[in-house]
């Protein structure tokens, strides 16, 4: 790792090397220092421009649109769409009217879906990571196989589950009805109330390996001596898990749960591949709902207002979460 071999050609990679520049002119001091101050900004510049272009400017723009009556008539020239003030918001939160009622419904569906999915992803990921912590025969193979759902592209994974959930030809009904005789007939999974559970199952199947991956990495940071010392003191495996593993994983868990929450709450891919542009009532996740309000009914102003409300909600939850978790961490890493 000693990359300091003495004979080196002039460092071509970077122009602002602290050395006096070639070209005869002696450079005054100030520009050098200025360049040194400017360097970090130069390094960040590409990232900043891209974030501005793709995330921040569109976001501000989205907020502007949410105050406009932007429908398909104005899509060629969005600037000419009339201002509508808070109308889009007012309609979105009138929960006794059809638009607001549907939004509120899909919000609750998304909350339930997210809670279940995050809880199961975290739980299964934790269990699997802990069970694979110690060396035993086949551990490497299991670890690789458990990561397969994460590695599969979302759409191929979800399409396969969609096939399994087909009413007549799917594996799920074949097992439940034909083999285990648990159901009297073959239920629908992709329409009706069952669709919610189908969505949760697919989301957990696809999502838990990410938790597993992060927690496996987190477990590697726990010094083995802790376990040895605990074993000396007579602590059994279960006690070691409770007293050493779980507390050590807390920082990982704090980030992991937040990330899982945000990803799941915003998840568009899974319901979109499963149900297409309009999800069944029971599985009408908010991202699909907004997509439909914007692109299918061509009411972009209203869709944007709903997106902004969603963002505000996520900001609020994140802020509360960060406040709660950082207080607990407190002095550990000020």
């Amino acid at each position: 790792m000693t990359a300091t071999a003495p004979p080196r050609s002039a460092p071509e990679a970077g122009p602002p090397s602290g050395k006096p520049a070639a070209g005869g002119r002696l450079r005054p001091r100030i520009p050098v220092r200025l360049r040194q101050i400017g360097l970090p900004y130069l390094l960040l510049f590409p990232a900043l421009i891209l974030e501005l272009l793709i995330h921040l400017i569109p976001m501000v723009f989205g907020i502007v649109i949410s105050f406009k009556g932007l429908t398909q008539f104005f899509i060629r020239d969005w600037g000419s769409a009339p201002w509508s003030g808070l109308d889009n918001y007012r309609i979105a939160v009138k929960f006794n009217q059809p638009v607001g009622e549907a939004l509120l419904h899909s919000f609750w569906v998304t909350c339930g879906f997210t809670l279940l999915s995050v809880a199961f992803c975290w739980l299964i990921g934790t269990v699997a990571a802990i069970l694979l912590q110690d060396a035993f025969r086949g551990r490497a193979v299991l670890r690789a196989i458990f990561l397969v759902p994460y590695a599969l592209p979302v759409y191929t994974a979800v399409i396969t589950w969609t096939f399994m959930f087909q009413q007549d030809t799917g594996l799920v009904n074949h097992v439940l009805h034909d083999q285990l005789h648990l159901t009297s007939d073959k239920p629908f999974w992709l329409i009706g109330p069952n669709s919610f559970w189908a969505l949760v199952i697919v989301s957990v199947w696809k999502g838990w390996p990410f938790a597993f991956l992060c927690l496996m990495a987190g477990l590697q940071n726990i010094p083995r001596e802790l376990y040895e010392a605990a074993a000396m003191d007579g602590a059994g495996v279960w006690q070691q898990i409770r007293k050493i593993t779980m507390p050590s994983l807390r920082p990982v868990n704090q980030v992991l749960v937040l990330v899982l929450f945000l990803w799941t709450f915003n998840d568009f891919n899974t319901p979109y591949v499963m149900f297409g542009q309009s999800a069944p009532h029971a599985a009408d996740l908010i991202s699909i709902h907004i997509y439909q309000s914007s692109f299918i009914t061509w009411n972009f102003g209203s869709g944007s207002a709903m997106s902004v409300l969603l963002l505000l909600f996520l900001l609020l939850v994140t802020a509360i979460y960060l406040l709660l978790t950082s207080r607990k961490r407190g002095d550990a890493d000020a």
């Binding site: 090397s17 130069l42 590695a151």
Partner: protein
């Protein structure tokens, strides 16, 4: 550590159940891709009555799969390379320099992770269309537009992870390189980058998978000639019929390179997460 019997048995049972949960869909994908159309149209059978490779031949003509494949490959590889390059510079800046706005930058970039994609889909769509109208640079419907979009998706996570990784590389190393006559960029490429290879590989894997699997922007921002696999696979479902055996065959063909690549590199991902993000 000597595990007690109860623990070993719990482990066996739980891991077996998990293994089934993970592998059943994979088995369905594989076995169905080898069935005749009439076999996937009837009730599901665990064991195919007869095997055929026909779906693997038909998938290329039912939809222009090869074309979608190339599109996905171009978009994902470009987005990955650019994203990783941009992330390396940014992470180096954040990790090695103290400057005004450092915290603001990290917080801003990380918080873009929480934006619902749907919030900036439409504005971005309008921005791309108006850039095309006013400058002639076609971003909407082009691969370029998709590449730029995707490269920002993995950027926050990549920067975050690489900052952690670069922080774990002793500063003395690149200070020494600078004393020996390297500029900051020389130190970055001769010392920091080589030492951070596992982290960089991990970030590349993540960026590639993000781009390869994206559905929402791919379905709005592409046209017939730039369509990616994420949208193209829908072509196997016609008005009357879904060619499930072909869908499964195509899914498998699309998945195998990604899964194989991922499994080959997953060690780096765990190592990268261990050193970088998870601390």
């Amino acid at each position: 550590m000597a595990s007690p019997k109860s623990f070993v048995w719990t482990r066996r049972v739980v891991l077996t159940l998990l293994l089934l949960f993970v592998l059943i869909p994979v088995y369905v994908m594989l076995s169905s891709s080898l069935k005749k159309l009439q076999d996937v149209q009837g009730s599901f059978k665990w064991i195919p009555s007869s095997l055929t490779f026909r779906p693997y031949i038909d998938i290329w003509s039912t939809v222009p799969l090869a074309h979608y494949f190339v599109n996905s490959l171009i978009v994902s590889v470009s987005a990955t390379l650019l994203s990783v390059a941009v992330a390396i510079f940014a992470a180096y800046g954040v990790s090695r320099y103290r400057f005004a706005g450092r915290r603001l930058f990290t917080v801003t970039v990380l918080s873009t992770q929480m934006f619902p994609g749907i919030l900036f889909l439409l504005p971005l769509f309008i921005i791309f269309v108006s850039i095309g109208n006013s400058t002639g640079i076609q971003l909407y419907g082009s691969r370029l537009g998709l590449i730029i979009t995707y490269l920002t998706f993995s950027l926050p996570f990549s920067i975050w992870m690489l900052v952690g990784y670069f922080d774990s590389i002793p500063r003395d190393l690149d200070e020494a390189a600078k004393v020996d006559g390297c500029g900051p960029f020389g130190a970055l490429f001769r010392v920091v980058v080589p030492a951070a290879i596992p982290g960089i590989v991990a970030v590349s894997v993540y960026a590639f998978m993000t781009a390869w699997g994206e559905v929402l922007f791919a379905s709005i921002m592409t046209n017939d000639s730039t369509r990616t696999l994420a949208v193209g696979l829908r072509g196997y479902a016609t008005q009357n019929d879904v060619y499930w055996n072909q869908v499964m065959a195509a899914s498998l063909v699309v998945s195998v390179p990604v899964v194989a690549g991922f499994l080959a590199l997953q060690r780096y991902l765990v190592a990268g997460l261990t050193a970088g993000a998870v601390k």
